[in-house]
């Protein structure tokens, strides 16, 4: 059972991640048509600094984050109004999956506490296995993945892993909650 603290935490995390997703979708939608150049680069490196700094806030923040987080290859990114998203399709799936996973985690139920750890680990492995197989297979040149597959594997990874983390917090809160006095 979740303690009264958990719904507040769940709602807060859900709102924060949802705002992030809305900013991610709003950026290419609300910026002038064709105002974002090709952002193709490398993750972990700021390689589009001057182009991003010229954007108005808060879009510059979200594109700056995308620049550091993701490779932003234009052929692997959604585009609206001729503006590509701040992150690639796989990362879009991951970020979209996080608020969905947090919401759906309240539906995860376990028969006993003992089987909760095993079940959560299985769900976590199921979450990461498709994205790893697809990513590694493509990385070593076994196949070329497609954008729908990238999106679905990202959505699974983001959604299920955030649900597992949220459920772990639920279990902890339930075990530390003080029993109600009669």
């Amino acid at each position: 059972m979740a303690s009264p603290k958990t719904p507040f935490l769940r709602q807060s995390l859900c709102i924060v991640t949802l705002v992030f997703v809305l900013l991610m979708i709003g950026a290419p939608l609300l910026l002038p048509v064709h105002s974002i150049p090709d952002l193709t680069g490398s993750p972990g490196i700021v390689d589009n600094g001057p182009a991003i700094r010229s954007l108005p806030a808060p879009w510059n923040f979200i594109y700056h984050f995308g620049d550091m987080w993701c490779h932003q290859r234009s052929d692997r990114s959604f585009a609206i109004h001729g503006n590509q998203f701040p992150v690639c399709i796989r990362c879009s799936g991951i970020f979209l999956g996080i608020p969905i996973g947090i919401l759906l985690s309240s539906r995860l139920k376990f028969q006993t506490r003992q089987n909760a750890a095993g079940m959560l680990l299985i769900v976590f492995i199921v979450a990461l296995l498709p994205i790893m197989i697809d990513g590694v297979g493509q990385g070593v040149g076994l196949w070329e993945s497609s954008n729908p597959v990238r999106f679905i594997t990202g959505l699974l990874a983001g959604g299920l892993s955030s649900a597992v983390v949220m459920k772990g917090i639920d279990l902890h809160q339930a075990s530390t909650a003080k029993p109600a006095h009669p």
Binding site: L128, G168, S175
Partner: protein, 125 residues
């Protein structure tokens, strides 16, 4: 008897797995980048890249060990595991921020959350 440490175990284990995956990826990519820099004469930059990525990977091992300590039933093991997870979570976070490895940062934050949850767990009657 101890309180239920399942939540702390799961979160610290996930943190450790994410740190391990991020570290392995960084070592693979870092060794290529480092070797390229070194071949171009920038041996200092090459060594730094390889050092950051390797230490990030090394920090994930104690976090994983700590998470398994947290899964034990005695309070002493839970405390020791939590301390291990917290210390190496901080180390992983430093290397994650330094090397801009976002998966390492997320893994370290989860390890820190799991370690904190385990450390603050109260024994039950």
């Amino acid at each position: 008897m101890t309180g239920d440490a399942t939540g702390a175990f799961i979160i610290s284990l996930i943190g450790g797995i994410l740190m391990l995956v991020s570290g392995a990826m960084s070592v693979f990519l870092g060794s290529i980048c480092g070797a390229t820099f070194a071949a171009c004469g920038a041996t200092g930059a090459g060594t730094t890249i390889m050092l950051i990525s390797s230490l990030g990977l090394v920090a994930s091992i104690p976090v994983l060990i700590g998470s398994f300590f947290i899964s034990r039933s005695d309070m002493d093991s839970i405390r020791k595991g939590s301390m291990l997870t917290l210390i190496f979570g901080i180390i992983g976070l430093i290397f994650g921020v330094w090397g801009m490895m976002f998966l390492m940062i997320i893994g370290s934050i989860l390890a820190l959350v799991g370690g904190y949850m385990g450390y603050t767990l109260q024994p039950t009657a």
